[in-house]
Amino acid sequence: MLMYVVRRLLQAIPVFLGTTFLIYFMVFSMPGDPILALFGEKTPNPAVLEAVRAQYHLDQPFFMQYLHYLQNLLTGNMGTTFSGQEVSDVLARAFPVTLKLVLMAVVIEFILAVVIGLISGLRKGGIIDNTNLVVALVLSSVPPFVALFLAQYFIGIKLGWAPVTVGANTTWSAMFLPALVIALTIYVTGMRLMRGSVIEAQSADYVRTALAKGLTRRRIIPVHVARNSLIPVITNTAASFGALIAGTTVTEGIFNIPGVGKVLFDAIVRGETVTVVSIVTILTILYIIVNILVDLLYAVLDPRIRYV
């Protein structure tokens, strides 16, 4: 196991260097003055312009610039937003909110996937199974921002069952609606994994043995079938955790949730590309870290992985 952890961490180093280089390259190899491009259609304040130029060491060769950028990144110096706040401070304040939202979404997604997948798997090919598949497919096709708007309009505005926007009031209950919407648009993958492994488990030897020794269905289904079908669903949920942390931009923007996604959303809408690039870099690094953890989790849950 230790060897596996070490190998997996070593593999992450080139990926880390590659992704940061790629992001840097995308931004700073654009034709024209990259600093002016970062400000888009706005005319920056000369002091801000100088600060950004200094931050990115544009007077030096490209590769040296990248090394400086990497050094800044590793020491937590991510520059300032246009309003003069440290990007790292803003992110540190916003992160717990995002974490809360994503955790809630992931828990709902997991429950939906397990329960609906189990029912579908036990009634394979029946009308319930087919309805479940079609509903999940439709829900997963609705673009997230459309789903969020529809929920906001019908549940928030028309019915008044949930706050229309979250704002500073980041309680669990205020963020339930956006978390539920996220969960509904992504549970399809987990549900299918659960359904597939439930179908497989029902004809597995250990289930036949349990039946043969006279256990009831009531005991076999939760203990033997469901529990052994959970591994792929757990790892899928963990993987979507990473994707969600990196992808709450639209959700937080629409529901005005003051998390990392909202910071990114505001920066995009205002055209503050410097901040956009910093946050995307941080989110990418987080995404890589979560993916490593998912792989390790997989190795813990399924010993066969370690020996590949």
Binding site: M26, M30, G32, P143, F145, I268, T273, V277, V280
Partner: protein
């Protein structure tokens, strides 16, 4: 063992002539993966619904004048957020433009981005995945590590960065921004498929009769590994349409183009008073994406003999 004598019965030649056997085979309907898939698809009502939706969107993209004679750019502020009226079935936007006409004229944007992104994803992803899977060794190490890097940046975030710094925001640049990162998943899927196919007998046979390694890859291995690629690309087309709309919604998408995402973004400020201008483009967007995803799912089922048997 008993000492029973075993009698072998040999049929007389005229009773099972090789000619007859061949004749039977020839008269049977030819069958291959694609024919089987087509027979399977033909029986599924959902396939026709999805196909009809795709055809309608395609027709609207190429010939919007078939569907509406209203100019989507004509605005009449007197009708701002106006209710539906004859000739304007879905009402008016905040700017006083006809919602229905804007939806029809927005189809070409979505379809163009979807198809272009699919092409870019395929053109980069197929060679990367095929070469890595088939040649293995050093080629695989290098190509797969490059793929890992692109795979590790969430492609939506990458597209946000590219579009933010891109001086010109048009259909081509947005397709590159999305497809330029989405290919990494495709390459992984194809690589895994080729790893399975390349050890099959017909691949060995192809090399044994003297075809070059690259020739074998192109002639035998690749065509037999394309199933997951086609499914992925169909679904990716739908996903690219969503990505374009989302980027436009965030304001880093297309400029000065009629696009469902732009219209939805513009309508969000008046969601409380005039939900229609947000609702209808959302419906058009969702149905289009759904049609491509359903097509992809049906293809996945139809092209997988094991899935067909399970149903």
């Amino acid at each position: 063992m008993s000492d029973r004598t075993i009698e072998h019965y040999v049929a007389p030649i005229d009773e099972n002539s090789a000619v007859e056997v061949d004749k039977v085979k020839l008269s049977e309907t030819r069958s291959n993966l694609w024919l089987d898939a087509w027979r399977d698809l033909r029986r599924r009502p959902l396939f026709y619904i999805a196909l009809a939706m795709v055809l309608v969107v395609t027709a609207a993209a190429f010939f919007p004048e078939w569907f509406t004679s209203v100019d989507p750019k004509a605005t009449d502020l007197a009708k701002s957020n106006g209710a539906p009226e004859p000739g304007h079935p879905l009402g008016f936007t905040f700017q006083g433009a006809d919602i229905y006409a804007r939806i029809i004229y927005g189809a070409s944007t979505s379809l163009a981005v979807g198809v272009l992104t699919m092409l870019i994803t395929g053109v980069i992803g197929i060679p990367m995945g095929a070469l890595a899977g088939f040649y293995g060794g050093k080629v695989d190490s290098v190509l797969s590590r490059i793929g890992d890097i692109f795979f590790s940046i969430p492609y939506f975030l990458a597209a946000v960065v590219v579009m933010s710094v891109m001086p010109s925001k048009n259909v081509l640049t947005i397709s590159f921004a999305i497809g330029g990162f989405a290919w990494a998943s495709l390459a992984r899927i194809l690589r895994a498929e080729i790893l399975q196919v390349k050890n099959l007998e017909y691949v060995m046979a192809s090399e044994a009769v003297g075809r070059s390694k690259f020739g074998t890859l192109v002639r035998h291995v690749l065509p037999n590994s394309l199933t997951p690629v086609i499914v992925y690309l169909t679904i990716a087309l739908g996903a690219a349409i969503t990505a374009e709309a989302t980027l436009s919604f965030l304001g880093v998408g297309l400029n000065n183009v009629i696009s469902w995402g732009n219209d939805i973004a513009d309508a969000q400020t008046s969601i409380r008073v005039a939900p229609g201008s947000l609702f209808w483009p959302s419906v058009a967007l969702t149905l289009t994406v759904l049609a491509f995803i359903v097509l992809g799912e049906l293809l996945r089922d139809a092209l997988d003999p094991k899935a067909r048997a399970r149903r």
